[in-house]
């Protein structure tokens, strides 16, 4: 049994963690990411890639259901950890590590999964973001419906997944329209956001946004500077520049770990890491080429969405603004939260990659589930 144990220990040292952020708990999420990376673990991008599911904050009922569904999709050996307080993190991660080594438990685990007889992971095609397999049937809500696959008309919905319908695409040709939900469990994605998309190929032809909230509001929120840097991390990671994203993450986490001089509103001197990051991002022509012209917003759009004044321009402008203004003190009183309904508007008509880049770069400043002042978010 020596080999098996060596393998298990080595595996536990390199675990991948899927971190789920509950809205309002981004400070805890970032602390968790830091702790995970410090252990030598990695952050997972999808349930298939994860060994540990780590939920930061108390999810509300609908988000909890989505998280449960994601939990079902972890291949195993799997460990689930729920954290509410930063101080619990070291113990929680140590517990997760021990949990990963518990062979007996993992041998019993698959039998405990419901629906395990049919197929190993009974996830639908588009549902590893934490929604059920019925991608097109919105009225089902978020309940786990893997058991009622058989109840559907098998002729037109094999596996319980309704077939795509045709529709005119932007070139005037008929093309499949696929109903896909993005979120709420997706890396570099606004916490709790679910975007119900109509996809033609990978182009969003329509979208409707909703927010799955927390159980209670007194969250562990990050300060504006950290939050801004977190958005830089997301944009760089989504632009496919892992190295710069990694460096941005170090800058984001620097004050807390004490690697660099803390920069506060009283001493707005940029840390050397931040200065280097700025130079690096500005110098990259490829990044500019990639982000230029993406998701352009006019001053009118900005007002309508309730974004800060400087959110105009394209994704590249917003990234540079973000980097430049990191050290500026937050405006007193804060801003109005962005109504979640307004989010669909800037991304409709973009392809998936561009939509993700645009969303990650916007300062949503805490989404609010309240309806938008003008309900014109969806088109197409």
């Amino acid at each position: 049994m020596g080999l098996r144990e060596v393998l298990a220990r080595s595996a536990a040292r390199h675990a991948h963690v899927l971190v789920v952020e509950v809205p309002g708990w981004d400070g805890l999420r970032m602390a968790t990411e830091r702790a995970v990376l410090e252990r030598g673990w990695r952050l997972a991008w999808s349930p298939a890639d994860a060994d540990v599911l780590l939920v930061c904050g108390p999810p509300g009922p609908r988000l909890a259901a989505a998280v449960d569904l994601v939990w079902e999709q972890l291949p195993g050996p799997r460990v689930r950890v729920d954290v509410l307080d930063r101080r619990d993190l070291p113990d929680a991660l140590a517990g997760a590590c021990a949990g990963l080594l518990d062979d007996d438990h993992h041998r019993r685990d698959p039998r405990a999964r419901h629906g395990a007889q049919d197929h190993g992971g009974h996830d639908g095609p588009e549902d590893h973001d934490g929604h059920d397999g019925h991608a097109g049937s919105e009225h089902h809500g978020d309940h786990d419906s893997s058991d009622d696959h058989g109840g559907h008309d098998m002729e037109m919905s094999p596996g319980g997944i309704p077939l795509a319908e045709g529709g005119d695409d932007r070139d005037g040709l008929e093309m499949d329209v696929l109903a896909v939900r993005l979120g709420p469990v997706l890396p570099h994605w606004p916490a709790g956001l679910v975007l119900h998309c109509s996809l033609q190929g990978d182009v969003l032809t329509g979208a409707r946004a909703e927010l799955l909230g927390a159980e209670h509001e007194d969250g562990d929120a990050a300060d504006p500077r950290t939050r801004a840097l977190d958005r830089v991390v997301s944009v760089l990671a989504l632009a496919g520049w892992d190295d710069a994203a990694e460096r941005a993450r170090r800058v984001r986490d620097a004050p807390a770990t004490g690697d660099a001089r803390p920069t506060t509103a009283d001493h707005p001197t940029a840390s050397p890491g931040l200065a280097r990051l700025r130079r690096r991002v500005r110098r990259s022509r490829m990044l500019r080429w990639s982000l230029r012209g993406l998701g352009p917003l006019t001053a009118d759009d900005v007002r309508r969405l309730g974004l800060p004044e400087d959110a105009g321009g394209d994704a590249y402008d917003r990234l540079l603004h973000l980097l430049d203004d990191v050290d500026e003190p937050a405006p007193p009183g804060g801003r109005q939260a962005v109504p979640v309904d307004a989010l669909a508007d800037p991304v409709v008509g973009l392809d998936l990659a561009a939509a993700r880049l645009v969303l990650a770069g916007l300062d949503l400043g805490g989404l609010s589930a309240a309806p938008a002042p003008r309900p014109e978010a969806t088109r197409g």
């Binding site: 080595s10 990376l37 991008w45 298939a48 050996p77 190993g120 639908g124 496919g240 990694e246 990639s290």
Partner: protein, 325 residues
């Protein structure tokens, strides 16, 4: 059909390349595995260096740790997955990489001395089109499928420039045999006087390895793209296949552009390995420097910039070759 399957070249083509027994194919796989592991270890070290200030060297063991993790993880499947095509796609990448490496001479020895080795390599890299798309398709998941299509979109952009980049050394050497191309570079490497072709070739290698700027098919924005639904040993096979393709591409650059085994002091097989590792390190390092090339933007770059550049390079090489003879 009693004739030998693989025709060797006439003796005029410089130092003879010896075809070894087919059983040496095992050695090809071993070399491929070692190179892939080296690339993964280097990537682990570089990643660790950018993620934290110290302790980077310990990360060289990272790929082995990840491998043990994936070996322990369960495989999973999805509703209505096309398992046959799904698994074929992942495993096929390794096979394609090994078949690429089979025509690369290690110093004097080669497993398959094909008269049309260059075209063979090209055929294998086209196989990757099918294989990556199949991995994306088989999972029956929107994210994976988007990844598969992204790869094909990239393929349409990089493949033709890559083909014409491979034509340049073949024109200069007057042969499609890999050994003959290597032998034709005595004194001056092809990389030195056809830099555009070499550059386009390196881009192509990154392209068919789904590497670095060509990784949107595996992007974070689509939860890992093609591999979004892969776990356990299936994911391990896919990742190994990517590194193996990168290694095979680096190894093929040596006889095509870097003078094959030629070099002072060391024996020619050692030079081949050293040059391969150098190209491989360059490719691994470059990943960290560059953001992704989004497929919709890269398409025009491929057709309007790289393809004409490669064609002009071919023309120049052809003119020089005719003028020389």
């Amino acid at each position: 059909m009693g004739e030998p399957l693989l025709t060797s070249l006439p003796a005029a083509a410089g130092p003879a390349v010896v075809t070894v027994a087919p059983a040496w194919a095992v050695a090809v796989v071993a070399v491929l595995g070692a190179l892939a592991l080296a690339a993964a270890a280097l990537d682990g070290v570089l990643s660790a260096r950018s993620a934290s200030a110290g302790g980077a060297l310990g990360a060289a063991g990272r790929p082995l740790g990840e491998a043990s993790r994936l070996l322990r993880q369960r495989r999973r499947t999805t509703v209505q997955a096309d398992t046959l095509l799904w698994r074929t796609g992942g495993a096929g990448l390794l096979v394609a990489a090994a078949l690429m490496l089979a025509v690369v001479p290690l110093g004097r020895w080669t497993v398959a001395d094909l008269a049309v080795g260059v075209v063979w390599f090209n055929a294998m890299d086209v196989m990757v089109w099918a294989l990556v798309w199949l991995v994306g398709w088989g999972a029956n998941s929107a994210h994976a499928l988007v990844g598969g299509y992204r790869f094909l979109a990239h393929g349409l952009g990089y493949e033709l420039p890559l083909m014409f980049a491979l034509v340049a050394p073949a024109i200069a050497a007057g042969s499609l045999n890999v050994g003959a191309v290597a032998a034709a570079q005595d004194g001056l490497w092809f990389a030195a006087w056809m830099p555009v072709a070499f550059l386009v070739y390196l881009l192509g290698v990154a392209g068919f390895s789904v590497w670095g700027p060509f990784a949107p098919a595996l992007g974070t924005d689509v939860a890992g793209g093609v591999r979004a639904e892969l776990s356990g040993v299936d994911r391990l096979v896919l990742e190994t296949g990517r590194y193996a393709l990168l290694a095979a591409g680096a190894a093929f650059a040596v006889p095509m552009f870097l003078g094959g085994g030629a070099g002072p002091l060391l024996p020619d097989w050692a030079w081949t390995l050293v040059k391969t590792l150098a190209v491989l390190a360059l490719l691994v390092w470059a990943r960290r420097r560059l953001p992704a090339l989004r497929p919709d933007l890269f398409m025009e770059i491929g057709w309007l910039v790289l393809l004409p550049a490669a064609l002009v390079q071919d023309l120049l090489v052809a003119v020089v070759t005719v003028w020389r003879s």
